[in-house]
Symmetry: C2
Subunit: 244 residues, 2 copies
Amino acid sequence: MRKILLEIEYNGKDFCGWQTQNNVRTVQEVLERQISLLLNENICLFASGRTDAGVHALGQTAHFETNSNFDINKLSKAINFGLDKDVSVLFAKEVDPNFHARYFVKKKTYLYKIYNSKIEKPLKNGLCTQVKYDLDIEKMKKASKFFWGKHDFSAFCTSGNSTKDFVRTIFDIKIEKVADEIHFYIIGDGFLYNMVRIIVGTLVAVGKGKINPQEITAIIESKNRKKAGETMPACGLYLYKVEY
Amino acid sequence: MRKILLEIEYNGKDFCGWQTQNNVRTVQEVLERQISLLLNENICLFASGRTDAGVHALGQTAHFETNSNFDINKLSKAINFGLDKDVSVLFAKEVDPNFHARYFVKKKTYLYKIYNSKIEKPLKNGLCTQVKYDLDIEKMKKASKFFWGKHDFSAFCTSGNSTKDFVRTIFDIKIEKVADEIHFYIIGDGFLYNMVRIIVGTLVAVGKGKINPQEITAIIESKNRKKAGETMPACGLYLYKVEY
């Protein structure tokens, strides 16, 4: 039995997220079908984590087990040959039999792209979230530092799933102005449901002057979802990198 | 009668180009319908030039005449309100009654984006043209200089239209490496049918080592379409800027 790790890019626009569900198109289902066909074997993909409908990935990872002796150097090209244009395997490598794409994650980086302008730009549509208000980047940078470290992030999690442990560690948040866009890189050991989108929504509230940077600690400590900012839309979110 | 000039951005993917045709979705038709509805008047748009199916625009321009006294400062927002997400008016301004969006053009800039890698990247799909071969950028830069100036560009024009004058002036071609992309900015007084896409196709042939930079002059002078490179796909092409 071999274990193969894939790095995967996808445009989330036409996917109902990563995880297989009935009667909708998901990244997992599209990839599993294609790899199973290619290797003539029923394979199961285990990702580093789910992504929601509309969320993109520049570096999602997933592993699978196989009995096939398909040449690993030709595998990603062979998989991509049968895939639609909105998903692609960037590389494939063989990993240790006890490796697991989810449980072995050390660091995950998400990127959130805001297009900050009053003018509608069709070519950014679906790839950024437009914010029409002027955002104070220095204030958002100041606020981002209060997220660093190990905290109970209950205030930054959408309820309705089975999570019981709300403690996560944020290693870094980088905020960059790139022409008319603002890019947020959020690096942590793992993320709760909608956590990145709520952190960015809270930073946007800071950027608009609705929340002071110094209030972030109190919002975290409140463990109250209502104190944090809004959940930003999926289309600006990219799973950027998974590190093991 | 007032004359209004619009600057327009669109993602060409789901349009059959600029010009109105029967039973297909075009940028002209979508905009004319929306503006006519808004101003309660039958308006006609005159663009700086057509763009083909799949070609994008970051700065297309078009004018129309109207009897309406709609506030010019609110016009672009009002038009955009009723438009699909893949087309948008960036600004609107009043111009002189004898102005014409096509005949008054002094300079046009096209941008062509190549994604230069063997790896398929879904998030670049439809926004760049992928070239898998390594391209020699220094050679392409050298070759680009032979296009400068006033030439008969018959060798760089797809036949089948009514053009009789094949003389155009190229003011500049800039080639930039931007991470894993190569951007070509081609500036001229006007362009023949498919001219930008054939110039880039010829530069790509130079980048692959199939044509020497020094051969460009002979290809231009041949006036023979078969001597030039291939017509690059529409999805990498952007009408970048129109200057008057």
